[in-house]
Symmetry: C2
Subunit: 540 residues, 2 copies
């Protein structure tokens, strides 16, 4: 098969990447009609105010403190990059060794401007062989490596902590093959998610995942972090849809498990080790993934619910009546909607309610799907589960409804300093932590809000204050983690652990499991050179 | 949560287990109106003739040769069970230590009567704690252990090779919890698949997997072998639907990753190590699994196709037009149908065709599904992709259509000695190996037939001869494996490797991967006591 190139973004769209956003904020420039990187629907940022009040992106972005200083991390005894190393890299990836500090800036700092490393070199391999040679060299020389995709992570997993060599997948952006009978795509790790989706749509398929960061994130990074996102309810986990991986191990050995088979029960399924291990066990260089057919019809509806019990019952009814066409079931509380209205001037077509539910269907027959949706609407309105509903009549309206849910993050950021938690809970208890925290925090928090992927049991819990306060943080942590652990929940539903959350792993996994993880790390990366200081806790 | 017991099979249904089948064949008894264990639709075995001509179950079943003799295996230097060991086991599982040779017989021999171990003791723990204490003892004493569920495996993975202690999950049959909002079931490993499905159906849910052996197989064994089966096309791999596992490691340590969360990105996903590792890395004691709602409507249709190219085009059309309601796409060739008719006297409602396709839909609206199916039928008949079609008008007819596909195994067994291969291939090449083999083998084979789960790229390739012939075997192996490897296929799509296929792993996985598997085995089971002689090749 002759690989062919996936076209890259046109220049103006490149501006929409986190890199652009950061630059715009830093410069305080007026930016209009550009995509907000956190929204899959291309919501607009109309002024630099977009950055104001954001806990991580103030209007005049100050220098981001070095992670090593802010968190007082001790550098591990890796070697430092020498002139000889640079010469060796230049031989492996000629003309693609970046050492210019300004060029390195965007890759040393995460897009939330929370973490900063001080890497002196970034490498841009194009092939697996180049990645293998780079890692073989780094392994021999005991040089630490930070694999980096689109750098859109939420937990500081994609930027160096010290001077790790940044290994970028940006130039590994080739589609290797697509089989239109089976819907199996094989591509390099650096392909951008949205671009892959566009490529597939031309052939009446779609990617099985969709994320706010799709315009920048790389499929390799998606797999390395086991990304969830908006199509999870319908198409399930990447663990089920990723069919094969090619991975380069810490010592440069290439593990080619890039099969395109739906079924393969020959030995241990090694690729699963690398899905969600955040680049700490190996560098993913290529991905084989099963893609669903593009749905013929998509419907979106918004409902108001009188209470959380009714939200849950609506979800059960929805699963029963919409069945196989249900593709999203998102919820938000009244305060979320108020903040969206206040800060973004977005109007809800549904009157004030304690809760709102956004339902999306994706099916193969517009008529059937509309029938099912109206039957469902009749049932939930008639039974009082929902007080009011609005079904999008066209794509524009559907986008407007999605914007109410998708732009919550933006609205909250404009309201003050935001303490963010991304947790999984048994769906029946999903909202209890919100009411519990409201009582616990009282007036010390401006808002405690809850929204998220109810269909996946995934709550985005956000606490807003006028400004950062250590005492409020102390009231939140470890309380939120302990509460979550008390419900056998997950302290990181879809964002992973990275640098930020590595030390809370123990709230969701027992010591025996953490110990096995550490033994796996030692087995596959005995020198610990791959993405150090991430995922596993500092202390055993 | 108070565990409650899943009712076991009534006695007459117990007769339907592989154990019954074997007994019936051995005794030459006339058995009527009993379930054939290989059929999910309860096809009937009307006389002992059911066993005649079966390569693995002759009418007067001879003694099965000991595996160690037949395959000349060298026993590894494990300890042998002493009186002190038996006393220790009796303290751990009082009254549940089986040493009677007759009672042990059914657990020493696999249901296909191909492999025989000579274990002297079988243990029946009820709790995870008991499993842990047993393994701790065995680990200290260097005693080998053969974990056993329903003993329904196809590759000799579930019976001992020598005198390994058989650790049965049969009494670990409790449902721990079921959440009806999320559809998440948590249960012990020894629950029987069909029984779980029945339990769920009462609550309008189903298990996400279905197998011919469902009346006997244990969910723990299903997970340990990453079972595929009949619902794979619709609900996907167990890797996506299993949410949590509890596993006891070789040294008795309990790894509790039994979460009930759809999303949990905290650290490495250890449960994936145990899914499909065939009991060689740990003993699965409990499972948390996401269950889909029970479909309101199920339709089954059979079509005749003029060629394999048309089968493929029908599949593409089917995916496009039936979309989200498509739940099975099975195919069989003309020779399969002829053998089914000849040996089982089952009539096809579709006239003689080179190929047949069985399509099943499962959806939430009978009317919509019928509409979609008839639209699809119109399209494929109009375009000449299929020459004729028959849609089941009721459940009885649906079962009859399924029987044509499901009883192929039985029909082939009656025709002579069967060489069986279960391979995955790129769907476009799925049938090429059949035509290739016909040309290669010529008259030395009575029949070379192909059928299987086309939607999953899974071919059941069967070669029939009057009797076993070493020269025919030599013409088949390693040729079939090399052919499969040449297409980047899998030499074991859903059956696993067990004892029978462990040495062909290298046809589907590169040496670097096999080496990592061996290092994982050494990491988690350094003494190699768990299911020895299985899954990994004899030589590195």
């Amino acid at each position: 098969m002759v690989p062919h190139r996936v076209p890259r973004w046109p220049t103006w769209l490149f501006c929409a990447s986190p890199g652009w956003w950061r630059t715009a904020c830093t410069l305080g420039a007026s930016v209009e009609q550009r995509r907000w990187p956190g929204s899959p629907w291309g919501a607009r940022v109309t002024s630099p105010l977009a950055c104001r009040g954001c806990s991580s992106t103030p209007s005049r972005a100050p220098e981001v403190t070095l992670t090593q200083e802010r968190y007082r991390v001790q550098r591990l005894p890796f070697s430092t990059v020498s002139k000889e190393d640079l010469a060796a890299f230049e031989r492996i990836v000629p003309g693609r060794v970046v050492t210019d500090p300004e060029e390195l800036e965007a890759s040393n700092v995460d897009w939330l401007r929370t973490f900063r490393g001080c890497s002196k070199v970034l490498l841009r391999p194009r092939t697996t062989e180049e990645v293998s040679r780079i890692l073989r060299h780094c392994h021999e020389r005991n040089l630490a490596v930070n694999p980096q995709g689109g750098n859109t992570g939420m937990v500081g997993g994609s930027v160096p902590v010290f001077d790790e060599i940044i290994l970028s997948t940006a130039l590994m952006n080739q589609v290797i093959s697509f089989q239109s009978v089976s819907g199996i795509l094989v591509c390099q790790a650096g392909c951008i998610l949205e671009e892959l989706n566009r490529y597939l749509e031309e052939q009446d398929f779609i990617m099985p995942l969709d994320l706010g960061a799709k315009g920048s994130c790389h499929i390799g990074g998606n797999v390395a972090t086991n990304a969830g996102g908006l199509r999870f309810l319908r198409y399930g986990s990447l663990r089920g849809t990723v069919l094969g991986l090619e991975v380069v191990l810490a010592d440069g050995a290439v593990l080619n498990c890039l099969t395109s088979l739906r079924k393969d029960n020959t030995g241990y399924d090694l690729k699963q080790l690398f899905i969600g291990s955040e680049g700490t066990l190996g560098v993913i260089t290529a991905v084989s993934i099963l893609c669903p057919p593009k749905p013929e019809a998509v419907n979106v509806a918004l409902f108001g619910c009188p209470g959380f019990a009714e939200v849950l019952k609506t979800f059960s009814t929805c699963k029963g009546m919409l069945g196989e066409i249900l593709s999203a079931f998102e919820f938000m509380d009244a305060e979320c909607m108020q903040l969206v209205r206040h800060h973004l001037h977005l109007a809800s077509p549904v009157q004030e309610s304690p809760f709102y539910v956004l339902v999306e269907t994706s099916g193969s027959s517009a008529g059937h799907d509309a029938d099912k949706l109206s039957g469902f609407l009749e049932r939930v309105l008639g039974s009082g589960l929902v007080t009011e509903g609005s079904v999008a009549a066209d794509q524009r309206k559907a986008k407007m409804l999605w914007a109410l849910r998708e732009r919550i993050t933006e609205a909250l950021s404009r309201d003050g300093y935001v303490y963010k938690y991304d947790i999984s809970l048994p769906v029946e208890r999903l909202y209890d932590i919100v009411t519990d925290l409201r009582a616990r925090l009282g007036p010390s928090a401006k808002h405690v809000v809850g929204y998220g992927h109810l269909g996946d049991g995934n709550l985005h819990l956000n606490v807003i204050a006028e400004a950062f306060s250590a005492s409020l943080l102390a009231a939140l942590e470890p309380y939120v983690y302990e509460w979550t652990a008390g419900q056998q929940g997950s302290v990181s539903a879809e964002h992973g652990l990275g640098f930020k959350k590595k030390d809370v792993l123990g709230y969701s996994k027992p010591p025996a499991a953490v110990q096995v993880m550490q033994r796996l790390k030692a087995l596959l990366d005995p020198k610990g050179i791959l993405n150090p200081y991430k995922t596993l806790p500092t202390r055993a």
